[in-house]
């Protein structure tokens, strides 16, 4: 009961947040100088007033701003995100074609980052001050500090160009005509490099966070209580230290999971991964406003959604949340 109404309240709140984002994005883009009709007319080589007006009428750009907004919002409610003038295709279709690829990439990277981040962080905390700890800490620092695109380029250079172990481009081998299991394996081979590249940075973040958080929790009174009960060290670490230390990690991971979906632009571009990150990049270069708006909307929706999921997960892992 409590949990259901909690979810309902958060959902309603999320809808309002999304609405605000849509309106803000819409207005911001209209603020940019020049409208798409002018740009298109210019590129078509016929920038005379009449043609521009024709285009404006065709796309509804001659109507007052609030009416344009109203029409757009009405469309959004029915999942009609408008038409991409550039690609001559519905924005929603374009996005939903690309979304699975992005989700596959970021999902893999996220799982990798979280699993190994927590494992390494916990290991470092358990061995604090010893060489294992120093090694992990330095490794995390390096992964954290190295720019993503550099890691991407170097890994392509090393693993696909020199060693030829893994493909460094695209999501599957074009023209190979794989089906079934072969196709899955092919996608997996393509996935490894971009997922690891994207995941390494986040792994470093979770490693550092888990380590710091565990060291803090180890000083807590209830850990001393656990020791005074005569529990074995392994059980103390698992049941008392790790469970509490993971709470801030979950918060951070939840925020980042959402951001990752919209923020894999760099990785997708370098690896030519056909996801929405690259779609956004292309839309930006081509001033494809409707498509850009659509991508913004979807990535904001994902962020809002993941925040909700995080809050939900939190109600399970931290019993105190319900009341506050």
């Amino acid at each position: 009961m409590g949990k259901l109404s909690f979810i309902a309240r958060r959902l309603v709140k999320g809808v309002f947040v999304l609405l605000a984002i849509v309106i803000l994005n819409f207005l911001l883009i209209r603020l940019a100088p020049g409208d798409p009709a002018q740009v298109m007319a210019g590129e078509a080589g016929a920038a005379d007033q009449e043609f521009i007006q024709q285009l404006q009428e065709k796309f509804g750009l001659n109507q007052p701003l609030h009416e344009q907004l109203f029409i757009y919002l009405k469309g959004v409610l029915t999942l009609d995100l408008g038409w991409s003038y550039r690609q001559d295709e519905a924005v929603a279709t374009l996005i939903f074609e690309r979304l699975p690829a992005t989700l596959l990439l970021t999902g893999t990277a996220f799982c990798f980052a979280l699993t190994f981040g927590v494992l390494l962080g916990a290991l470092a905390a358990a061995r604090v001050g010893r060489w294992t700890d120093s090694l992990i800490t330095v490794l995390a620092l390096v992964c954290y500090a190295t720019p993503l695109f550099w890691v991407a380029l170097m890994s392509i250079l090393l693993f696909s160009v020199y060693l030829g172990w893994l493909p460094g481009f695209g999501m599957f081998s074009v023209g190979a005509g794989y089906t079934g299991l072969e196709f899955v394996l092919d996608v997996l081979r393509h996935l490894i490099l971009p997922a690891l590249t994207l995941g390494l940075f986040y792994m470093a973040v979770y490693t550092r966070m888990t380590r710091a958080s565990m060291l803090e929790v180890m000083e807590m009174d209830y850990v001393k209580t656990a020791r005074a009960k005569g529990l074995a060290p392994g059980r103390i670490t698992r049941m008392h230290v790790l469970r509490n230390a993971l709470l801030p990690v979950i918060t951070l991971a939840g925020i980042q999971a959402g951001q990752m979906v919209g923020g894999a632009v760099l990785t997708e571009t370098v690896f030519a991964w056909p996801g929405i990150g690259r779609l956004m990049f292309d839309a930006l270069l081509q001033r494809d406003y409707n498509l850009l708006l659509g991508v913004f909307l979807v990535s904001s929706a994902v962020v809002v959604l993941f925040n909700l999921v995080t809050d939900l997960v939190y109600t399970f892992v931290d019993p105190r949340i319900e009341v506050s």
């Binding site: 209830y222 009960k229 005569g230 529990l231 469970r243 892992v317 019993p319």
Partner: protein
């Protein structure tokens, strides 16, 4: 104490020395200490902070952060074995099964994300005792035995649903799950309200009787000692300076340090009235209301807590008015509303019978701020660590237009007034002890020549001997400068000593209000009676020899 072990001896500490890491304020945390915990007895280890009490307890439990803090000599003999020689695995077996321990802070001593029942179950688990079904019954039985309500369903609750006192009961249940021979209690009631403390003390007493346990009870409070101890060992700077039967130590302390400690305990009887009180009212509070709203969201109304309900009282010129009550009674809220650190929701705060402070805002309030100043509880958190002491004191007057040179000159005077050297103005707060910091806090409050000091638990964080000195200082300053003090405290002993009148608060309301002697000798409200009855050691009258020791020391200081 009789340093021979007898048949009754369960735990015997023999010439124990525990080394501290290099760079600590002394070489050894404890040095050559010896005492015994006997079956069916409570041994109180008494001492001020830094005396080595907790290190001793942790050494017994094998919980020292070795090798930084390392036992280097002596023996800890329990059931015929020297605990210091046992391998960790064997020691782990003893912990929780043969020796139980409870801690000072019940609010943080339980894992917040684990159910109560599971946490108790872990003890059985770790020591491989009892089957699943049996355990469930045992958990319920344990929770019942420590007097917790609804033990059947409580095991399924998380700690945050429980009050501090209830959590301490859970801790006790956990420590006693496997019927240990010895219970080590490290300041188990220090963080609790006085009525809760009385209940927990009774509970420990009863369980110890029922089970014929030995209890090692660590405390800094001689009132608590008077309440529960059979035997006492007094520790000072890592050494046991005196030990013996409780009645001996309480009524006829031999060692000068023990005498000073005992003599510093505030007397429970309020002193005779000191001269005539002025009839002039400095501040009158009328129907003060303060409501807190928490967790208000976009769609939620939020929960409201009425921290002060129609509170009314007067403070006369030159008097110390006590506001006493337990945590959550709203006493600090009232104090903060008067200083205008909080906005009240209703009522009047009339100053010098002419102006209602509650109605003033911003610039209008500014000139009145200096008349009412505050002294805070925590001497560590209430001074800016990056400011020099002189600057901290001078800041208030400078904000009110005093020149920098003049303000600093005045700061040095004030430092001398509160018993510090004027040269310390150039130092930073971390260079001072808790008591010295509280003196600085008092100097800061006095810098604006206030007419009223609001002192919120100003001595609660201090050791008893330091507490006595700070109380003396406050009393002295009040008389010398003829200022009024609103003294907020949970400690009725302290209130008895320093307050001319007191107001007792419960759940945001003043339930009783009057002359301290009258309230103490003839309490009208049931809650006041309950509070007074809960004061530990109220039937123990502090021996004259101890009073004299403190007075002599005072005299010596003044002569020097």
């Amino acid at each position: 104490m009789n340093n021979q072990t007898s048949d009754k001896t369960l735990l015997s500490i023999e010439d124990l020395t525990v080394r501290l890491p290099e760079g600590a304020d002394r070489d050894n945390a404890v040095e050559n200490i010896s005492f015994q915990v006997n079956r069916g007895e409570i041994l109180c280890i008494v001492g001020e902070s830094g005396s080595g009490k907790s290190v001793t307890a942790n050494a017994i439990m094998g919980l020292l952060p070795r090798p930084y803090v390392e036992p280097v000599a002596g023996r800890i003999v329990f059931e015929g074995r020297d605990l210091l020689q046992l391998p960790e695995a064997t020691l782990r077996d003893l912990r929780g099964s043969r020796v139980g321990m409870i801690f000072q802070e019940p609010m943080t001593a339980l894992n917040p994300v684990m159910k109560i029942g599971d946490q108790i179950n872990e003890v059985f688990d770790a020591h491989g005792k009892a089957g699943r079904k049996e355990r469930k019954e045992q958990v319920v039985e344990l929770l019942r035995s420590v007097g917790l309500p609804d033990p059947e369903s409580l095991g399924d609750s998380y700690p945050f649903r429980l009050s501090g006192g209830q959590r301490q009961r859970v801790m006790i249940a956990m420590a006693l799950a496997l019927e240990p021979g010895v219970l080590i209690a490290d300041e188990p009631t220090t963080a609790l309200d006085v009525t809760t403390q009385a209940q927990i003390l009774r509970l420990i007493r009863k369980l110890q009787d029922d089970r014929d346990m030995g209890v090692m009870f660590i405390t800094h409070d001689f009132g608590v000692v008077a309440e529960v101890a059979d035997q006492v060992a007094v520790m000072q700077l890592g050494e046991v300076v005196e030990s013996g039967p409780a009645q001996e130590i309480l009524n006829n302390p031999q060692h000068p340090y023990t005498q000073r400690l005992v003599g510093s305990v505030p007397r429970f009887e309020p002193p005779e009235a000191r001269g005539k009180l002025s009839a002039e009212t400095l501040l009158s509070v009328r129907s003060l209301d303060k409501t807190y709203v928490t967790a208000r969201g976009l769609f939620t109304k939020g929960r409201t807590v009425q921290a002060a309900k129609s509170v009314s009282f007067d403070i006369r010129k030159g008097e110390t008015m006590g506001l006493v009550g337990e945590s959550g009674s709203g006493k600090s809220t009232v104090g903060r509303c008067i200083v205008r650190l909080l906005e009240s929701n209703g009522g009047e705060i009339r100053f010098r019978d002419e102006i209602d402070l509650a109605s003033l805002k911003g610039r209008g309030l500014q000139p009145y701020r200096k008349h009412i100043q505050m002294i805070f509880q925590d001497p560590y958190a209430s001074l800016n660590p990056r400011r020099k002491v002189g600057r901290i004191i001078a800041e208030g007057p400078m904000a009110h237009g005093t020149s920098q040179a003049e303000a600093h000159r005045r700061a040095e005077e004030l430092l001398e007034l509160v018993g510090l050297d004027s040269a310390v103005a150039d130092r930073y707060p971390h260079e001072f002890s808790g008591g010295q910091r509280q003196r600085i806090g008092i100097a800061r409050a006095l810098a604006l020549d206030p007419e009223l000091l609001v002192a919120d638990e100003p001595v609660s964080a201090l050791d008893v001997s330091v507490q006595a000195q700070v109380l003396d200082l406050l009393d002295d300053i009040k008389q010398r400068l003829n200022i009024s003090v609103l003294f907020i405290t949970h400690d009725l002993r302290v209130a008895a000593q320093i307050c001319e009148r007191i107001a007792v608060m419960q759940l945001g309301e003043i339930v009783e209000y009057g002359d301290t002697r009258e309230v103490f000798s003839n309490p009208q409200h049931p809650y006041t009676r309950e509070l007074l009855a809960a004061v530990p050691g109220r039937n123990w009258s502090i021996p004259e020899v101890a009073r004299k020791a403190v007075a002599d020391q005072q005299l010596q200081k003044e002569v020097l």
